[in-house]
């Protein structure tokens, strides 16, 4: 009993702090990744040959950019873009320094996930709305994004969970977080109980996120 009390007293604050850091990193980088990735996904669809804003150049350029960034493992990306990080947020360390590479890593993945979600939308419905004289921007919002909602939610669930994973590496720039805690205390300091607790929290977190994602997708899906 006293062991447990001791553990809780000594380690709870730092575990709590790590949870907060993980949430900060995931939520802020998710927000910006969606703000960048979703329009990119929409643009990928619209500039595709045969679609409303058909543009080979933009389409190919987007494809290349996304593929290049997605080829770089996060742990390398983290250091590779240090100057860029410095330029954007003024620092390369801490939560702030980790968020920029997290966004750069996550936005292109989200663009791809959104692209595949939007590709599932029946092109006939888009055509029907076109035939009714509806403006393209309204079709994007009220047909494409609306009909793709279940797949968009599931795609975002995948993106969040992989962000949680990526934050573990953000510890390398001193951003902290659960993954970093497990690594430093559990691996470097042989405090396996800290590792167990953090891994357990991570499992709960991922389970919870997936469940929420599945429920939301089911709610939007009507067929």
């Amino acid at each position: 009993m006293s062991d447990l009390q001791e553990f809780v007293q000594e380690r709870l604050p730092i575990i709590g702090e790590s949870v907060v850091q993980t949430f900060q990193m995931v939520s802020v980088s998710l927000l910006f990744s969606v703000l960048i990735g979703l329009p990119m996904g929409v643009l990928l669809i619209l500039t595709r040959p045969g679609n409303a804003w058909e543009n080979r150049f933009v389409y190919q350029l987007l494809n290349v950019v996304i593929n290049v960034i997605r080829s770089i493992p996060f742990i390398i990306l983290l250091f590779f873009i240090l100057p860029f990080t410095k330029l954007v947020v003024g620092t390369t360390i801490g939560v702030k320094g980790a968020i920029v590479p997290l966004i750069v890593h996550s936005a292109p993945s989200i663009a791809r996930l959104m692209e595949s979600a939007l590709l599932e939308v029946d092109s006939g419905v888009v055509e029907a709305y076109k035939s009714m004289g509806i403006r393209t921007r309204d079709i994007i919002w009220h047909v494409l994004l609306r009909e793709a909602r279940p797949s968009i939610v599931l795609g975002l669930t995948i993106a969040v969970i992989s962000l949680v994973g990526a934050t573990a590496m953000a510890g390398l720039v001193g951003a902290g977080g659960l993954g970093d805690l497990a690594y430093r205390f559990g691996h470097l300091r042989y405090e396996v109980d800290v590792m167990y607790v953090t891994v357990f929290i991570l499992i709960l977190l991922v389970q919870g996120l997936q469940t929420i994602g599945n429920r939301m997708a089911a709610k939007y899906k009507k067929d």
Partner: protein, 313 residues
């Protein structure tokens, strides 16, 4: 096309009819030529005028193309909202057109809960709710079973007659043309090969593709061996009766006046939108001279005569 009519375009798949109908509201841009609606060439319109023209043209599709994630009400209301129609007017129109298509009780259903025929009715209500002058139908009944097809065709007829909406439809099914079209064009390889009033096409088809479509509706073929055998003793002819000639006992007159004994092999009556067409396949047994006179007599009486040479004409 004329205002107020139902014009049908028929052709086998790949004949170019889908492209034709999609050129009307410029879902596809013609590579040459113009599309005129009420006297204006729509191929040269700026974007906002094109949108305005499209809002006056409703369109329904083989695949219905409804929003899966929206209720029947929203499926009709959302496009109206995007056309800046006021909420009160939207409610009024949704109610009105859902009752015209007979789905008043389905406001809150999702498309997945509806049958194919019901989905097409919702799509029709959606098209009508924009209060178009012209309705385009792109194989709207091709995915439906015969009974449902029948009821949708009846609905289209009602819309045409009661709301005065002009309808342009394309199909590969002759019975669609037969039941509701005033005029018809037959397409093959991107060209219109024959067009005219439905009744003329049914009785006087000239092109072989048209004849194939027309004969398909009679469900009548003679076995080639039988036809060969019969033709040794006299010609086999197809007689079509329209209007006045339907009432005359012409075959009885033929057997009285000439040395010919007509033998009826098959027959039927087809109901077109406006008129009935009677059709008989008859073997005119007799000598060459006599049968020729008999055929001339039949033609004099206003009967359309066509000699059958192969298994089916």
């Amino acid at each position: 096309m004329e205002k107020g009519e139902i014009f049908g375009v028929i052709g086998y798949s790949g004949a170019g009819k889908s492209t034709l109908i999609r050129c009307v509201n410029l879902l596809e841009t013609p590579t040459s030529g113009t599309v005129e609606i009420n006297g204006t060439d729509v191929t040269r319109l700026p974007e906002h005028e094109l949108l305005a023209i499209r809002r006056k043209i409703g369109m329904i599709f083989q695949g219905f193309h409804l929003l899966k994630t929206a209720t029947v009400y929203d499926n009709i209301a959302i496009p109206l909202r995007l056309m800046d129609v006021g909420q009160q007017e939207i409610d009024k129109r949704v109610g009105k057109y859902l009752s015209i298509v007979g789905l008043e009780d389905k406001h809150d259903a999702y498309p997945s809960q509806l049958s194919g025929g019901q989905k097409q009715r919702v799509a029709i209500a959606r098209a009508l709710a924009q209060e178009p002058e012209l309705l385009l139908s792109d194989e709207a009944t091709s995915a439906l079973d015969p009974e449902t097809t029948e009821s949708i065709l009846e609905l289209l007829l009602t819309i045409n007659q009661e709301l005065g909406i002009t309808i342009l439809l394309i199909t590969h099914e002759m019975n669609v043309i037969q039941k509701i079209c005033d005029r018809v064009a037959v397409m093959e390889k991107g060209e219109v090969i024959e067009q005219g009033r439905t009744v003329d096409i049914f009785t006087n088809a000239r092109h072989s593709t048209t004849k194939r479509f027309v004969n398909g509706t009679y469900h009548r073929e003679l076995p080639p061996s039988l036809l060969r055998e019969l033709r040794e003793t006299g010609p086999v002819v197809r007689l079509s009766f329209v209007g006045e000639s339907t009432g005359k006992p012409v075959l009885a007159a033929v057997s009285r006046k000439f040395d010919v004994s007509p033998n009826i092999l098959a027959g039927g009556i087809i109901q077109l939108k406006q008129e009935k067409i009677g059709s008989l396949v008859v073997h005119l047994q007799g000598e060459g001279e006599e049968t020729k006179k008999a055929i001339a007599f039949l033609e004099e009486q206003g009967v359309n005569v066509e000699e059958m040479e192969r298994g089916h004409v």
